[in-house]
Symmetry: C2
Subunit: 418 residues, 2 copies
């Protein structure tokens, strides 16, 4: 069978499975999740052993240490995956919920009911935990899922998928409800993203290049989990102590994630009081600070930031700083360079804050809080499959509800159109 035929076959199996997945009861789905959790707990040692094989190969290939860190499965990480499965089991089932119900002039009763999306294909890169998280969320929302993990963690992903699928089938999951693409050939992605007859949505998680490639070539609708180039704007009416705490947290607490701060914007009227101390605090923590000319005038020791810096998601302990002469300039800068992810204003002035919150174009806008809270767990969704940086279907953290669609059910008693 050619790769093309193989992908078509897999996707068509998912489509068949989706019809059965959508009718699984909540209790059944939860039992499947629990059975998977137990199976993973039992196979902990084997998982770590196989993961080590991937890690050794990656080290041989001189893969970056950040990447290797992300693909590592420790006892703790497996525990956290297992805990995630149980969390998803504890969340309310979105399927079947009545979103709206009306009775029309002619007696037709129209119900808008939540249904699964159908077949979801997740294409991801380094983190093997996505194999579990994504499968669990898709299953709980009544979908069939096709998993396509990156080549570096292939053996780890394959094993995790095998354990999950075996456990789920033993508990009565329909055949094909969870499937893993057992090839690292990149051509497989090209095939999958054009199978719109079978797949309802593609969720790519990974680097910008991968995502834009998929967007450019897919015929299946895509929900993209794009980059996070997040700003914090310290307004002239900010509480300086609060601003310092929030900015420090947004940059330093976990710099490698998408909701960390990359660029700090500071109003010129507060720059002298705020910035020198702030930069000192950052530098003490090992942050490399780059700034605009005005910032450098204030703190001559720092590097000059170039246009390139305003466009860069560092994902590390580097920060660019720009002094702006007004709230408008701050908003313009964010709308020009931001990635529509998470943006914050620190200000004691309600009017200025409201302007920022309304005019900044991003999935999540914060007033006097750290952008690090931009996360499904923190937003009360229980778990997340990603953070959407587009506006269609889902925006911001995506949980179970975002893995569903709806359907109109119309009850009549012989109505005909006049």
């Amino acid at each position: 069978m050619s790769l093309k035929e193989e992908m078509k076959e897999k996707a068509s199996q998912s489509k068949v499975a989706a019809v059965k997945m959508k009718n699984l009861s909540t209790a059944k789905k939860n039992r499947i999740l629990e059975t998977i959790a137990t199976a993973l707990e039992k196979k902990e040692e084997e998982i770590i052993k196989v993961n080590k094989k991937d890690l050794d190969l990656a080290k041989e290939k001189k893969i970056s240490s950040a990447f290797i860190e992300r693909m590592t499965l420790s006892k703790e990480r497996i525990k956290s995956m297992v805990k995630g499965l149980r969390t998803v089991a504890s969340l309310p089932d979105p399927v079947g919920g009545v979103m709206e119900e009306i009775i029309r002039y002619n007696g037709l009763r129209i119900k808008k009911v939540r249904v699964p999306l159908g077949v979801i294909c997740i294409i991801y890169e380094s983190r093997p935990n996505v194999t579990c998280d994504a499968a669990a969320l898709c299953l709980k929302a009544g979908n069939a899922v096709l998993l396509r993990g990156g080549s570096q963690a292939f053996n780890s992903n394959l094993l995790l998928a095998k354990i999950m699928i075996e456990a789920a089938l033993s508990e009565g999951m329909p055949q094909g409800g969870i499937q893993f693409i057992e090839t690292t050939d990149r051509e497989a992605i090209k095939e999958l993203i054009r199978l719109d007859r079978f797949i309802d949505v593609i969720i790519p998680r990974g680097g910008e290049e991968m995502i834009s490639n998929i967007k450019a070539n897919a015929t299946v609708p895509v929900i993209s989990h794009g980059k996070g180039l997040c700003h914090t704007y310290v307004d002239k009416e900010a509480n300086i102590e609060q601003a310092s705490e929030i900015c420090f947290n947004a940059k330093v607490q976990r710099p490698g994630v998408c909701n960390a701060m990359e660029t700090l914007l500071v109003h010129k009227d507060i720059a002298t009081d705020f910035l020198p101390q702030m930069v000192k605090r950052f530098e003490k923590e090992g942050v490399e600070v780059r700034g605009c000319i005005e910032t450098q005038k204030l703190i001559p020791s720092i590097k000059i930031a170039t246009d390139q810096d305003w466009e860069t998601e560092y994902l590390s302990l580097i920060l660019s700083i720009k002094i702006v002469d007004s709230l408008d300039t701050a908003i313009e800068h964010i709308n020009q360079y931001g990635s529509f992810h998470s943006e914050a204003i620190i200000s004691e002035n309600k009017d200025r804050a409201e302007q920022f919150l309304s005019r900044v174009d991003a999935a999540s806008v914060f007033w006097n809080a750290s952008t690090r809270f931009s996360d499904g767990g923190e937003f009360g969704l229980g778990a997340e499959i990603g953070i959407s940086t587009q506006k269609l279907h889902a925006r911001g953290p995506m949980g179970l509800q975002e893995l569903t669609s709806y359907k109109f059910i119309i009850y009549g008693n012989g109505q005909i159109k006049k």
Copy 2:
């Protein structure tokens, strides 16, 4: 300026306008809609004159009469467009609505607020009324809109757009809020659908080929208004008289539209009692009936339906009939050949109806009612921009709400992530 640059410029102007459009007050938007309505009323004669030019050209080119019918603007049709504008003005404004609001464990208050999508590009074919309907809906939902009408009705669309834009600007619409693509060059579409930096969604309305071309090449997310291959299934426990009324209505009342019936499925146990009379009634109305072998055994005068028939959206007075041996077979047939649009079951048996409603994969599923009700107006949306046959973002009739996205606004008082 090259076509590519021109499209980029237009789209970037829309993007700039979108920032202002989203802040227009409801009252202002309604005044703009009323001003447009009045302007169109005043220019009625000129519109009909220019439309006649398009019609004459189309006739010269031997365009099909169905197409010419759709592109014709009569006094009545202009009245109906104007009425549509006023209806949209009367509908509630979706922008700013709070969809959810929670306070988290750490005191963060999170509001999920409805916001416009941003820039919407509508690509349509024959009907000039789309120029008005689409612009009105996009404007009311706070979006900037880029209109790209088909070449046959170019002069009509251009005039309508000019009247609308002039009137809207005079009432204070931000420059670029409504734009019309003033070229019939098809290359323009290829450029537009890849401008994802500026355009938030493409809504194509037209033939299957155009839509699949756009889906295959767009980097901008697409909401497709696909074809409607709608079925009605007459169950063995149907009320025969009711079934006859509904089937007749679904096929005959307006055969050229997407929610009309194309294939009739009949349970074998009721076929002898139901079909001969039903077919007689259809044939009396000029419907050409094609059927499966079983149907032909019952009514030898009809043509045999081929596989091709099950896949065809006739949009005319042709009907294919298939006798099925069970509810399951009916559901399978629909899920194989349907277009996920609108499907109906006629049955007095609640359990069998519920099975159909749950297992058939379509945006709208009807029990004992005509599929012809699948329509934004009939569903209480007031107006519609199309009917989505995909599951992402919007499914079924799309109104104002479906032209919006949302944004999370988070109010804190110094919260940092632990």
